[in-house]
């Protein structure tokens, strides 16, 4: 690993962050191992946190983190910048590796139960792991919004206020509240990574 990957940008520079991400993508596609190191420094903690929260096991989370970045390296030719940012691609790989780890765990549980030849309890089903991942990713992405967008989304969702109540509480015009909430949600939509194939549902009442 000889060439030097670009340093990660500070947390409060979206344009710089995008440019940095593009440079790392180009270097990664070109087979530069330093780009993998840069991606690891930038997204390793996120990947590891996602694995840790959904698996609840530090060892397994380390294994998944290792598998994710090896998959990023080995599968780099499959990354299509036109289809979305590098971060979303890495999050998509993380989801698949976590799902693999959970099914391996289920298989082990089944084997253990079979070996015991008694009907033992199945491993405790964890809360919907996809939903846990979404919540971690959204909590992270909220930090990248402007303070006013973040505050208004928190009032809307975590304090369950209607947009009119928010307008009254903050003294902002209702239209302003609405547009901040809209823009905030729009900026958050990219944070969840690639949905697994088949997850995109048809519209709810097709006219």
């Amino acid at each position: 690993m000889t060439t030097v990957a670009p340093p990660a940008p500070g947390p409060s520079a979206p344009a710089e962050e995008t440019r940095w991400e593009e440079e790392v993508s180009v270097a990664l596609l070109g087979g530069d191992p330093d780009a993998l190191a840069a991606a690891y420094r930038r997204w390793g903690p996120l990947v590891h946190t996602l694995a840790n929260r959904s698996l609840g096991d530090a060892r397994e989370a380390e294994d998944v983190t290792q598998q994710v970045f090896l998959a990023v390296w080995r599968g780099r030719a499959g990354y299509r910048p036109a289809r979305g940012p590098l971060a979303a691609w890495i999050v998509g790989i993380t989801r698949r590796k976590i799902a693999d780890a959970l099914s391996a765990r289920t298989r082990r549980g089944v084997l253990v139960a079979a070996a015991a030849t008694v009907a033992t309890e199945r491993p405790a089903p964890c809360a919907d792991p996809e939903a846990v991942l979404d919540r971690v990713l959204v909590a992270q992405a909220l930090r990248g919004l402007t303070p006013v967008q973040r505050d208004l989304l928190c009032l809307a969702f975590y304090e369950d206020l209607t947009q009119s109540q928010i307008a009254r509480r903050t003294g902002l015009p209702l239209g302003t509240v609405k547009s901040h909430v809209r823009r905030g949600l729009h900026r958050l939509r990219g944070c969840l990574g690639d949905a697994a194939p088949g997850v995109v549902p048809p519209p709810e009442r097709a006219a």
């Binding site: 191992p33 390793g44 939903a131 989304l153 009442r205």
Partner: protein, 87 residues
């Protein structure tokens, strides 16, 4: 194909669906256009699905602690060794 909806319309749709999945349609003509468009436009459908998931994650309860867990130091070593072996 009909025109792509403005992102604000998709956000409204995602929010309204979350608040009340059976909400009556306020502007039937316009919503019918939107639905007709969604049937044929996979990118808009994907966008709406992503927005719904964001809304669902936000609606799922108190915010999670946004602090990330640092990766233990040995993990990068193992990745780098593996990559070097394959070089």
């Amino acid at each position: 194909m009909t025109r792509h909806p403005h992102c604000a319309e998709l956000v409204e749709l995602a929010l309204r669906h979350a608040a009340d999945p059976d909400a009556p349609e306020e502007a039937p003509g316009h919503r019918a256009d939107l639905h007709a468009h969604l049937v044929h436009c996979a990118p808009c459908r994907a966008e709406l699905a992503a927005l719904r998931r964001v809304v669902a994650a936000l609606s799922a309860g108190e915010p999670l602690d946004p602090e990330l867990t640092p990766v233990p130091p040995g993990v990068w070593r193992r990745i780098a060794d593996e990559v070097d072996r394959e070089e």
